[in-house]
Amino acid sequence: MIKVIVIDDEAPGRKLIIEYMSFYPELVLVGEANNGVDAVRLINEYKPDLIFLDVQMPGMNGFEILPHLEEIPRIIFSTAYDQFALKAFEVHALDYLLKPYTQSRFRQAVDRLSGSAAVNKIQPLAEKLIMEQVQYPERILVHANKKLITVSTADIVWVEAYGDYSKLYTLNHIYISNFGISALEEKLNPAIFIRVHRSSIINLNFIKEVNRYPGSYDILMQTDAKVTVSRSYMDNLRKLIF
């Protein structure tokens, strides 16, 4: 069973997709949205496997909803844009249907999706959209069980460098992010997150204890993880504590 949500601001657009979907018993419609805000709410609630997503919608466009999703499903864009306009969004590698489309074109897009080699091609775009946000992003894209999900930055207890990647520790989980620790340092709000070591960033809200030794500090987080503060980053911490 593949859970599907159809998002298009125009009712006929949704009707046509739902009609074409009816040829695939495995595609089960779990919701419809006619704007970006509702789409985010529905997707976060139902965690669909696939969404049909219109690009131009009032309020929030198809791309703008991506950074707000907790889990990023497979996406087939359905748009009146032409290939050239889409190129501007670098989505040419993704599945998209140009309106108006025929049933056979619809079939192609759905078949491609279920192919064994199908990977979620939305990742690079989603990453880009998330990291390009002007302010500090509320969510960060990570992999978990072969799924693309997002973690709320407020839930991150601390970050540990992991080669070119980073480990994000929350109270209950560990996630791997594609971004290195320095890239994350720039994207995490410095009012809450501070770098304390070449390979660690901590969330001030989750500090349990600070242990002072002659010439160094240790920080005990609420997860009982012990994070060392290195000499070169000591000033970052001092500014906050004293």
């Binding site: 125009e10 657009g13 032409d82 290939q83 489309y101």
Partner: protein, 356 residues
């Protein structure tokens, strides 16, 4: 742009030939006059200016031979090798120049000896090497300048015609401009409102939208793969086929290896449209349109043949409908290629052109 080939011989007009010959007659007379004055013709009683044998001896035969020898050189440089770069042709001149001078002097002395006329001898004949060489350089210098000037003029004409055509189509597209998003969304709405059994109608709507998309793309890019243009023409003809039903038969044959070649967009479809509009649609029983694209002598040959009413006066074809004129102008501009029109047997029009 009109078929002016009637009053021209390998691209040369009668006036140009007359002018060219006059140039030699003038040069010969000028030279003769100078020689006559040089040996005191004004004062000598027994040396009249009007003296046919004297003229032949002192200029006439000289320039007549130069004319005869210049023609093959002209043909080689300005007809056969006209597509070779100017730089290379100048190098070729360097080879031909001594050949020209030697051939001329041999023939000249042979002829004068046979006619028992006098010519320069020994070291004096250096003048008969120097002057023809000078003449050669002057003559071809002038011709090169003239041809360059003419080509430039021609290019400017084509350019201004193209600009005019571009302006025209821009104006007409401005007049017809609907926001394409609006258009495609409306198409989609129409598509959705059709009962699902009518999938072929939805297909037609999608094809129509594809035509619009391609046209929009064409206005933005200089070159597209042949595949796209064929696809576009096919979709256009499919829609016409839906209108005309069995009155219109279509066959499109394109060599597969050519599909990725780059061609200017919207160059084939206007010809197909012309064939439908003027060839097939006036006929009660309709007819057939055959499109062929194949490789020929390293170039890509396009053939659009219809079995329609045909056209008697083919010189009227270009300059009328915007479609044909536009294609013709762009071919001329980009490839120096021309549309050729012939009759389809037993009736109809065949249009052919080559690019490459």
């Amino acid at each position: 742009m009109k078929g002016t080939s009637k009053d021209k011989f390998i691209g040369v007009s009668t006036w140009e030939i007359v002018f060219y010959i006059s140039f030699f007659v003038f040069s010969a007379s000028f030279y003769y006059t100078a020689l006559w004055l040089n040996h005191g013709g004004l004062h000598l009683k027994n040396d009249p200016f009007f003296n046919f044998r004297g003229f032949l001896n002192w200029g006439g035969i000289d320039y007549f031979l130069k004319l005869l020898l210049s023609i093959p050189v002209w043909w080689l440089i300005f007809v056969k090798l006209r597509r070779v770069t100017l730089y290379k042709r100048l190098l070729i001149h360097l080879v031909i120049l001594p050949l020209f001078v030697i051939a001329w002097i041999k023939l000249y002395y042979l002829l004068l000896d046979a006619l028992k006329m006098i010519h320069l001898r020994d070291w004096g004949s250096i003048w008969d090497l120097y002057l023809p060489a000078l003449f050669y350089i002057m003559q071809f210098g002038i011709i090169h300048a003239y041809v360059y000037f003419k080509q430039n003029q021609e290019n400017q004409k084509i350019e201004s015609a193209l600009r005019e055509a571009a302006l025209k189509s821009e104006l007409s597209s401005l007049k017809a401009q609907l926001n394409p998003h609006f258009l495609y969304n409306v198409f989609n709405t129409i598509s959705a409102s059709i009962p699902s059994e009518l999938e072929n109608t939805r297909q037609m709507i999608a094809e129509l939208a594809d035509l619009f998309r391609y046209q929009l793309q064409a206005s933005r890019s200089e070159l597209v793969p042949l595949r796209d243009e064929i696809d576009f023409t096919q979709k256009y003809l499919d829609l016409e086929k839906a209108r005309f039903q069995e009155r219109l038969q279509i066959s499109i044959a394109v060599e597969e290896e050519l599909m990725d070649e780059l061609i200017p967009p919207m160059i084939l479809q206007p010809l197909a449209e012309n064939a439908v509009k003027h060839g097939i649609s006036p006929l009660i029983n309709g007819g057939k349109i055959a499109i062929q694209v194949k490789r020929k002598e390293g170039e890509i040959e396009f053939l659009i043949a219809d079995t329609g009413v045909g056209v008697k006066d083919k010189s009227q074809l270009i300059g009328g409908g915007v479609g044909l004129t536009n294609t013709a102008l762009r071919l001329e501009k980009m490839y120096g290629a021309k549309l050729s029109f012939t009759d389809t047997v037993p009736s109809g029009l065949t249009i052919k052109f080559k690019i490459g």
